[in-house]
Amino acid sequence: MASSVSPPSSRLARWREDHASQLSDLRRGLFRFARNRLSLLGLWIVVVMLGVAVTGSTWVPFPGDTLGDVHMDNRLQPPNATHWFGTDDAGRDVFTRVIVATRTSFQVGLIILGVAISIGVTLGAVAGYVGGTPNQIIMRLTDVMLTFPGIFLPMALAAALGRGMVPAMLALSVTWWPGYCRLVEAQMLKVREEDFVAGARAIGASQRRVIFRHILPNTLTAIVVKASMDFGFAVLALASLGFIGIGIQPPEPDWGSMIALGRRFMPGAWWISTFPGLFMFVMVLGFNLLGDGLRDLLDPNATVK
């Protein structure tokens, strides 16, 4: 490389030199990632879905159908050239509603994960670094929260808080953190013993600095991988609450409540349930394929072969 001969002049070149090993790791990783068609498929799905979430409401064919519009003369139309996914019992365009629901789902999914990661990482960091009694208290609470399987706990909490988007979001946020807490705690216990942490401590770095500048960045990879797989699940959980009837309430577009609505018209008007579910399936699949590819890519054990 030219930069190794003459001293690097620009900051970019110097940065590249300083991070040469990371960059070559990254390049090798990207190569491996790109070779796996399923991971690439996941990436494409996620990119397209993000585009749909951001721009969807500007180009849907029937923007009025996202809320209370009613066209009784047009109800329960099967899929056709104007209504790609058919119309529902109030004559609203299912395609429009599916597309517009993407944005809400993504926003809520981001909030759920944001809150869950903040709580989980903080608690996990404290438990892993401090150890002793605080560790015991935090980790036992985490175990207990993880004991409730599936959607039981969020459902109970959402039902207690009342119906609608905000209670559902809140219920999922405060029950989603234990996984992150356990992950970060385990990582902290591992990283805490590394030499560079002892070094930082030896030159007098404060406890907070050691945690936030030296240890947490090293747990970031694991958090990112988990979050990329969790995003799809968070959206799924939100839709599940909507489906039961305690999440986002109609006429607000939501995949879960649309599927629930379609059940009432089932053998005849199959399209009302089928398309939102199919769309959601593709989206969750995208995030999971991407997350799985990222895990293979970023897992340090996977490189030693």
């Binding site: 175990d143 207990v144 207690a160 599940s240 489906f243 599927i259 089932m266 579910g277 959601m280």
Partner: protein, 335 residues
Amino acid sequence: MLRYLLNRLLWIPVVLILLSLVTFVISRLVPGDPVKLAAGPQARPEQIEKMIEEFGLDRPLHEQYLRYMGGLLQGDWGYSIGNRRAVLPDLLTYFAATLELTVVATLLGLLVGIPLAVVAARWRDRWPDHLSRFVSIGAVSVPVFWIAIVLQLVFGQLLQWLPVSGRFDPRQSYPQSITGILLLDTLLAGNLPGFWTASRYLLLPALCQSLLVVALITRQLRGDLLEMLRKDFVMVARANGIQERILWSRYLMKNAMIATVSMLGFLIGFALGGSVLIEFVFDWPGIGQYATKAALLLDFQVIMGSTLFIGVVVVVVNLFTDLAYRLVDPRIRFS
């Protein structure tokens, strides 16, 4: 081993207290007045007053918790404000149905998941591996309540092969309950047509619930098999000219299955969580359906009772799996 067992048993009360604390806290968050809801729109204020007193909602919180906890220990899990029935006996009845569904789903999941993992590991990075990865990732990505509806549509309404809701044909006489698990009850009574009917009702919901198990088993077992393949004993066995078939069945599977077996308890817990939506869609009279109906009616003693019950079941299942694991694997028992 004994010390470990004692240690675990001593933890159980602590875990149970924490579990009940979580459900108690949630039950006291209810902002909309469940009592008013239960009493009905025509209730007079003194009736509501009386109910509040009956539930002890006018006492200080710690007193309410002690009362709640004391009740739980004595088997008083409160009663449904919807139908005025006690919660615990109902939970026990419904649990038999949930257990039947979950166990069958787990077995189905193993039946599909194990071969899928083996072909994936055997032909790593070839098409069977990619297919297995796609199936297992697809299985966790599909919205379970949606696939349930699609299966109902296809197998129930279009093809008319299978019933789509409930647990038994209402036109046939319901099997005498011995264990509460219909497949067992009908077999014990020698009622083969009844067994056939019960299996037909069970198939679709169990299939939906098994998806999660398939996914988890496939990923876990494939990883373990690949790890085993890298071990020295495999190289030695191959150098000795062992047949691949014997290497896989006697050497690899035996070792790799340990982790999968130890996961079983955890898997059953996981599958239990999936029962909520599946039971709701298939009208399967289990705990999940009981809880969802209660959540819609804000029947809070039922919601808390079922959540707590499921939590307790998972704690117990985990304990037994841990013990079984230790009994089976001497490396852990003696460490």
